[in-house]
Symmetry: C2
Subunit: 425 residues, 2 copies
């Protein structure tokens, strides 16, 4: 710790001053309007590439995938058992002669005459002359002859094309490739798919107070976490991340980092220094040199935010407080990444508030919530903390699985009120 009683000298030229405060007061924007400004930063995505399906999980489809064949491609047995003619199994039990054996993968189509049947395995093509499969459990399992004990005409048959016809789109452009989508695509015959290129997003935290190496803190310092949270969230959302920083509160190091990352990045995200303080280097540098536009957004947390273009690359400036940065990422930056990827946003649900809390007048509120179930099938949302403005509560970050979004016109949420929630995952 340095001398406790010697404050830094008052800078002459860099104070916020009455003008700045006045200007900022004028450019208040609703959260929706500000989000529209940010979305306009990325009119187009970073293009497409072809990848083998084994590397496609988590990517975003950039072109529809149409089925190479109908599904099923051929009428087949839904059970292990015997392919029979319904006419032969109306009076039970009955004994039939087993004239052939059709395993899965066989292309055989043995002819079945009256009183005959074929032993057949699940998925194997149903002989053209059969119309019914009798499960082995409803027989004596005989090999040369079999006793059929129960049967139902037409049962246990999967008809060609009953799922979809050839040419059907099984996964549409703009879909994120979950394991299930991958299955649909692979089953339809695709071995590679066209996906959006991963946007490259550079991220850093700014602030003289930030310590990144775990060293013991002195008064005034804190551990840098924003770049880690944002990098992990960006990767979760499909970006490639270049993580830098922490960058001190001086223009040269920040400009140097921006110069370094801008040429290869589709988007740059910085945290801190975006407010009305005397040392808000992000605001000062971006305003002076990158057409920076700084706003008082009608949201809590996250009032001071801004954007710019550094050497042509869009830059988004988030607040420095960890909870603010994290929540503002989810609400303001994630949609920008999703636009770059041309993919729909996360699932949004209507939940029921499970507690009371206050909301800032005239500002939309974002808060971390934990979801649960009510006994009647209602989705419950419980705030991880109920001190709405406590943007330094980093402990809240870990316990949430969604963000709650309270409209600006609501000044108090009461247990039982409906609440919009958006899943993190």
């Amino acid at each position: 710790m340095t001398d406790h009683h010697a404050g830094a000298p008052v800078p002459e030229q860099s104070g916020p001053g009455a003008e700045v405060a006045q200007t900022l007061r004028r450019v208040r924007l609703t959260a929706a309007d500000y989000l529209d400004e940010l979305l306009a930063l990325v009119p187009s995505g970073p293009g497409v590439e072809r990848v083998p399906i084994d590397e496609a999980a988590g990517r975003v489809l950039a072109a529809d995938v149409a089925a190479a064949v109908s599904n099923p491609a051929f009428t087949n047995a839904a059970m292990d058992g015997y392919a029979v003619r319904a006419a032969d199994v109306t009076n039970l039990p009955v004994r039939l002669r087993v004239v052939a054996d059709v395993p899965a993968g066989s292309s055989a189509d043995p002819r079945i005459g009256a009183g005959e049947c074929v032993r057949i395995m699940t998925g194997a093509p149903l002989p053209t002359t059969a119309d019914t499969v009798v499960p082995v459990e409803d027989t004596d399992g005989g090999l040369a002859e079999v006793e059929i004990r129960a049967a139902e005409a037409g049962r246990h048959v999967r008809h060609a094309g009953e799922d979809y016809p050839a040419g059907q789109v099984v996964a549409a452009a703009g879909v994120r490739i979950t394991p299930g989508v991958l299955g649909a695509v692979a089953a339809a015959g695709a071995t590679s798919v066209t996906v959006r290129r991963r946007p490259v997003v550079a991220v850093c935290a700014t602030g003289d107070e930030l310590v990144a190496d775990g060293a013991a803190l002195v008064r005034g310092q804190l551990y840098e976490s924003n770049s880690h949270v944002l990098a992990a969230a960006l990767r979760r959302d499909g970006a490639q991340v270049v993580r830098g920083g922490p960058v001190p509160d001086r223009p040269e190091p920040l400009a140097g980092w921006l110069d370094e990352v801008a040429p290869s990045a589709d988007l740059i995200v910085v945290t801190g220094g975006a407010s009305v303080g005397a040392y808000d280097v992000v605001r000062d540098l971006l305003t002076a040199r990158a057409g920076g536009v700084f706003r008082q957004v009608l949201v809590q947390p996250g009032k001071p935010q801004g954007w710019a273009h550094w050497a042509g690359t869009p830059v988004i400036a988030l607040p420095g407080n960890p909870l603010s940065a994290s929540l503002c990422y989810e609400f303001f930056v994630r949609p920008v990444v999703e636009r770059l990827l041309q993919v729909a946003g996360p699932a949004e649900f209507t939940a029921v508030a499970a507690a009371d809390w206050g909301c800032p007048p005239g500002r939309m509120q974002l808060l971390p919530v934990r979801l649960g179930s009510g006994p009647d099938g209602r989705l419950l949302a419980r705030p991880v903390h109920t001190r709405g403005s406590a943007s330094h509560l980093t402990s809240a970050l870990g316990g949430a699985d969604a963000i709650g979004i309270v409209p600006a016109e609501v000044d108090r949420v009461v247990a039982g009120d409906l609440l919009r929630v958006r899943l993190f995952g």
Copy 2:
């Protein structure tokens, strides 16, 4: 296509026979009991390792993370503005002399006397002699002297330790490291964390009918998708995956693949060949050579399933139908992977059925559902298809975001009924 009218000869020795059918009939198990058998296969996980936090997202914490310092570590300003003594701002407006400037990251603690104040930035340490922060917006922003226009005693101050004290566990062993958890851990001073080693899971699909290279299909063939779905789901759940196959329906190639992967795998998962057909090579080989235990599980889809140990490594045999394999992965295998990782399972909710459908008597039903919201905050679950047993509907795989779980004793679900659902994500 080969000759349509020449079925394979009936094998003399490999038929299921009456005994096998009888035996299988006897070893019926409920889904819960079968899941217990599978969980017992993995009494312990694959150990732990230390990773830098930059590589920790998605991993599972293997040890509690305790905070190096309290949070906030020092009492600090919640806003950009002026640190004042409440006693000096009881009568407003008032002009105060600005005696120092404390930016974020400064360790200064300037003394404030009567009629004095200090300009301060968000996050900067509050001078010991101050007790209140006045936001710059409530002042004229002066540098040498400032006019305070509005103030509230004690406001805009974050007190040391008000989030948590030093030593507090900010993330507990067994937690999956989301971006939020990563933030809590980084903010608490950790630069690396102890996580579970990723279990190595080898997976392959078996079946002579499977085509993996996208070649045109002949009668009886279909495109292999299970290994892709399972690999993607296993990676999503935290495993390292060795993907093999497809393996033909003969013992030697399957034994060869098992020999190859078993030494380095924590778990092996195969699909297909687990039923009562004459060519069910997985069942036959594992039963003969690996202590295989095959069950008729009281679940739909997924009745025939089994497990074994190959050279000491647990093997789980899933059904071959794509939808069955995928749903049975979620219900039966994912919990095994989660036990290896010592992590809790996915969020489970009570939803409201949004359609009617039939359920198999006496068997638990798994079905893919799509979640949505009712107007009253109810979570709605709509089946992607309502043909309960249509396990070949690979198109259903892509459209779901959860599995619905219907207990065995329910034989029909009616819109409005409550339904247990488990998120895929």
